[in-house]
């Protein structure tokens, strides 16, 4: 079977070279930028060592954005998984074949929408005076409800849109995973008079543990791409209550001071944290 052929080299060589150049050049350039004092307005810049990083650690706004990012990751990943498992099991138990196909198609829609669109759809639905989501509250109390300009609820509202996009998508995947399981253990549990929730809690979900962990990891990676939603819905506001790391880097580099080196330092911190954490977890999970 093993036949020496040039195929792996001609097929992989150019691709790997292309990806490596495209990934490593910007990465090292970002690190270089982070150690200099480049701004968007001046053509020259010089090496300043760790100054940017030293500044970061005393920066309250940076600390805030780290905290917001961590909150965002934890909340969106756990809520997405809960919704996905709940709905996936529910489809598996309560829906017929035809209905499953229908629900799967419907639940795939949110994730396909451009995030900018999803953000606008919900921004208008949350509108304090004219939104449909806030309508019941307005009808009952007669007062407007402004979830997006309240620091307490703004992050939750944006997170809700993220979960709306990903939770439904993942519920389809959970259903497919359940369908791919061998039916015998489930039948056996049924014969022992186990209730549906017991079957899933003690039989099917443990069987799917590895897949579900991988799924949570994928969501954790995708949750890092929160920028579009936050940019459209709140721009990090009110104040800095929804300012995640990428939002803060963007506003440092492009909106406020044009301090591209400082923004780059934030991006590098984010880069190192994610690569180290995710490589470690991924290799452990998929061993």
């Amino acid at each position: 079977m093993k036949m020496r052929s040039s195929l792996p080299f001609t097929f992989l060589g150019p691709t790997v070279l292309f990806l490596a150049v495209l990934a490593f050049v910007p990465t090292f350039y970002a690190i270089g930028l982070a150690f200099s004092d480049k701004t968007l307005f001046e053509p020259t810049s010089s090496w300043i060592g760790f100054e940017n990083f030293a500044k970061l650690f005393g920066d309250r706004r940076f600390q805030n954005s780290v905290l917001v990012s961590l909150k965002w990751e934890l909340a969106t990943v756990s809520a997405t998984m809960l919704l996905a498992i709940g709905l996936g099991v529910l489809m598996f138990e309560a829906a017929s074949r035809k209905q499953r196909t229908f629900f799967c198609l419907v639940f795939l829609v949110p994730v396909l929408l451009p995030r900018v669109c999803a953000a606008f759809v919900w921004k208008f639905a949350f509108h304090p005076l004219y939104g449909i989501i806030t309508y019941p509250y307005r009808a009952i109390t007669g007062k407007p409800l402004d979830v997006l300009s309240d620091p307490m609820s703004a992050l939750a509202a944006v997170g809700f849109v993220d979960i709306w996009q990903w939770g439904f998508f993942f519920s389809v995947i959970v259903l497919k995973l359940l369908e791919s399981l061998p039916p015998q253990p489930i039948e056996a549990a049924r014969l022992d008079n186990a209730r549906p929730w017991q079957i899933h809690l003690y039989v099917t979900l443990p069987m799917l543990k590895a897949s579900l962990i991988s799924l949570a990891l994928v969501k954790a990676i995708e949750s890092l791409r929160s920028f579009d939603l936050i940019y459209v819905m709140t721009r990090g506001g009110p104040g800095i209550s929804t300012e995640t790391l990428d939002m803060y880097a963007f506003s440092q580099g492009f909106i406020e001071s044009g301090n591209i080196s400082y923004a780059s330092a934030i991006a590098v911190v984010m880069l190192i944290a994610t690569i180290v954490v995710f490589t470690f977890i991924w290799k452990r999970v998929n061993r």
Binding site: V106, F107, L113, V121, Y130, A139, K176, F278
Partner: protein, 269 residues
Amino acid sequence: MTSKIIGKCVLWFFALVVLVPLLWTLLNAFKITADLLTPVPKVFFVPTLDNMAYVLGRESVFTALVNSLIICLSAVGLGLIMGLPGAYAIARHPNRITQEIQFFVLSLRFLPPVAVAIPLMVIWLNIGLYDSRLGMIVAYSLITVSITMWLAIPAFQAVPITVEEAARVDGYGPYAIFFRVALPIAMKSLLGALAFSFVLVWNEFLIALMLTTSEAKTLPIVASEMSQLGMNVPWGILNAAVVLLSLPPLLLLGLLSGFLNRAFAQKAR
């Protein structure tokens, strides 16, 4: 039995949570401002095509549409040319090196978009690719090549090895087997993978925001700018823009759901 009915009701409730905001947006796209900005949501109204006409008639939208199409299709094309052969080589030659390459390709998804966009912006400014279609194509091909490759590996692994061996016995060389046997058999899944990568770049926002200012702006950027026209947010126009921007990914819904079904059917085997 009652629990099944309750379960169905819950499922329908969640289906409505998905559909109602979207249908509402679709309705709003055909409302005049007076029908749109009402304290009590208005379901019945006289529809207008003004919002759609305004969006479609703007030159900036047309330019952005052309940009989006050229940039996304080129990036997907690069994903096809570079990703598929690479994926095939990894699928058919599993060893330490290809495993490491596979992980490297996946780990590209770990890169935070800001960490790519900021340095790329400075580099593109230096070499004159900033705000150009070419610059955007190169940036997006990092996304399309890696995702296409990642999704195409299982698709090629699903091609029965016996078929390839039969072709070899018939005197096909390794390249002929790839082009005339593996590609056609895996075609359906590969189309799904390409559609997926298209949706990713069509929807992409952050990189486009940082790498363009006027010439090479893509549709999501132009759509997001519509909220800044004049003093009041023109919600009717914005809703129309949202509907138009969402159409291409939604047209691929069938293809992508078929891709998911095949991917998991393969897992069950």
